[in-house]
Point group: C2
Chain length 435, copies 2
Amino acid sequence: MSPNAASPLSLAAASGADIPALMDGIGRRARAAARALGLAPAAKKDEALRAMAAEIRAAAPAILSANAADMADGEKAGLAGSFLDRLRLDGARLEAIAAAVEDIAALADPVGRVLATFERPNGLRIERVATPLGVVGIIFESRPNVTADAGALCVKAGNAAILRAGSDSLRTSSLIADAMRRGLASAGLPEDGIIMVPVKDRAAVGEMLKGLSGAIDVIVPRGGKSLVERVQTEARVPVFAHLEGIVHVYVHAPADLDLARRLVVNAKMRRTGICGAAETLLVDRACAQTHLKPLVTALIEAGCAVRGDEAARAADPRVTAASEADWSTEYLDAIISVRLVDSLDAAIAHIEAYGSHHTDCIVTDDGAAAERFLAEVDSAIVLHNASTQFADGGEFGFGAEIGIATGRMHARGPVGVEQLTSFKYRVRGTGQTRG
Amino acid sequence: MSPNAASPLSLAAASGADIPALMDGIGRRARAAARALGLAPAAKKDEALRAMAAEIRAAAPAILSANAADMADGEKAGLAGSFLDRLRLDGARLEAIAAAVEDIAALADPVGRVLATFERPNGLRIERVATPLGVVGIIFESRPNVTADAGALCVKAGNAAILRAGSDSLRTSSLIADAMRRGLASAGLPEDGIIMVPVKDRAAVGEMLKGLSGAIDVIVPRGGKSLVERVQTEARVPVFAHLEGIVHVYVHAPADLDLARRLVVNAKMRRTGICGAAETLLVDRACAQTHLKPLVTALIEAGCAVRGDEAARAADPRVTAASEADWSTEYLDAIISVRLVDSLDAAIAHIEAYGSHHTDCIVTDDGAAAERFLAEVDSAIVLHNASTQFADGGEFGFGAEIGIATGRMHARGPVGVEQLTSFKYRVRGTGQTRG
């Protein structure tokens, strides 16, 4: 679509838009709003968040009818069923979106937390105190709830959010963003704390990735691998993201078989399409005799296709041969790769070689082995005797997450309100000069 | 210099080097060393750091003679006196370098710190625990001490360091790096934890800024504005840096005149060439009558040239007229700009408009005004009644700093060992599955 193509949306700003100029203006508005939101007291931000939830509920008929129109267009365009399911709203899903915003209002204010204090021998009192990050750019695909989750998390942390919705969900997402802007305004905060990019033109994404002349501090992509890959490759600003979740469960001897079976089946099959779903099962040779066949059988009986090495294939004839590529494949489906490993070290080496530093788990009764695994596996989340499907900000108690990050800079793992803050140093003196 | 130009150094690796291949190999060696350093216990790292100090001392004759050769070449090339002074080593300066490495050994281990713990209703125990960042690329100019400071800080935090010295100090810096590598090896740690880029070719910097195929996690430039600007513009990996320190001292009414005078003169004149030196003095109109003239006079008498607005010029005939450009100029010299402001709000607005978010100070007896200034000025370091020259990792008690950052991502203010770490989540369960 060319920058001047007529938008199917009746968005005034979008008609005949000069995309760089439009996006530059959005950046400047967001930056100004971020300054005001960054100084807003907790009570004001929470008042705005509760008002957003009320505005979303009040706008339910309009949002649901916009969503029906987005769905109809999506069906006409032949979008995949899984895509349409993520796009689809109903009364219950919209109520859950509003309630999630209220949950974020109820969280403790992440801004102003004193992260460290130290008094120097010369009497200077130094505090490291949490401050907002600034302006967060969120680029997402179909899920309309990202508008509310991401916008609310940003406002809670004193940041402004620039949201770029997938073109197939823009009508739905725009009305949710409008409701949230009304919520900001009703609390006396700048409505530009949440700005939805009003054009479908993909050039807008390119402008965001360049950072809007310094207006955007960090980009969060929420969507499939191709979106995340584009963002990680092109972005000239920091990115909070994970490209994929090549998640391992390692069953180490001694591990209780029943516990291992429950964990492996849950980690793989509870939901296969999420980033915390297991993709590879590693079984230690020391317990292969007793554990391999029952684990493989349990997975197959739960509806999972198993691709394995020779040992796995010997355990059950329904196991097909895994290729080298399987060890680095994120299936996001009812498929798992299974391999024997010779030791804890071999398991760690496999995970470091093939994994994606997202989430990995050891199942064992051996506390020392578990601690070594937790220390040596370099992943955002490492678990002992718990399902990898807990890799989620809500399950971590963060209220909600704006995404999961596998980078090592600033944020790692589920990105909640605390990770949406920066910090500064406050130094209180009594006239100290430096000698 | 072309990639194949003969190097004046007798470094085997440098002759006829294929720079991308050379740098790629350095990246892979550093990444492998980082993995080992990241898992090294504190005692091993500290043993290596103490051995580094001993090796630097033992190599003093060779290092000082290499430095004499670098100095002679620099003088022949007509390098500036300030540049040569930063390059110059003597016995005392080298001893200070070795002692600083021992000071870093004595710091608490930043790796493994438990940053947060929470237990979930389902019994999961979750810890956020500090981990190394990975591989740090340091690009610096003349100061040989950066080799030791940066290398030691990286090793302390379990990271590997790739060091790129200015070509005029490469002989000196290489010998210091060699001594540190011997220190690593003597403690049984990989000597590739510290790698000095062995070529002067500037293409090596370009390769580092591209990240060496993902091997470099963060770049730290240490040097003048043109170096930092190039790094910030070209780097495809995160950067810890400040471009400049446009540092303000705001004298608010009521402020004790004697205290204000001592702070202003120290903030500007103790050392004028450091990033925490004051560049602009803002005087509140409410105390101009009593404070402006004495402050301006004290600065002039201390040897400082004053450029001011009309009020400042009226206070002392030696004040010259400030232009609009003065308010955003980092002099790094005995020059200051002076302006009256109408209020605390006007002072904050001036600082936000012209400052560089580095370090800013309010001088006042009014605690409420001080707290507003500390909250509302969006700078890495904000001070009340203390000299801005305290903007320094050593003065903050960090032992040493690898630099000062003004970005809001990951690190801000003095970057010490804690900021050279990342974190991950350790989750301990008893068989929990997600419902």
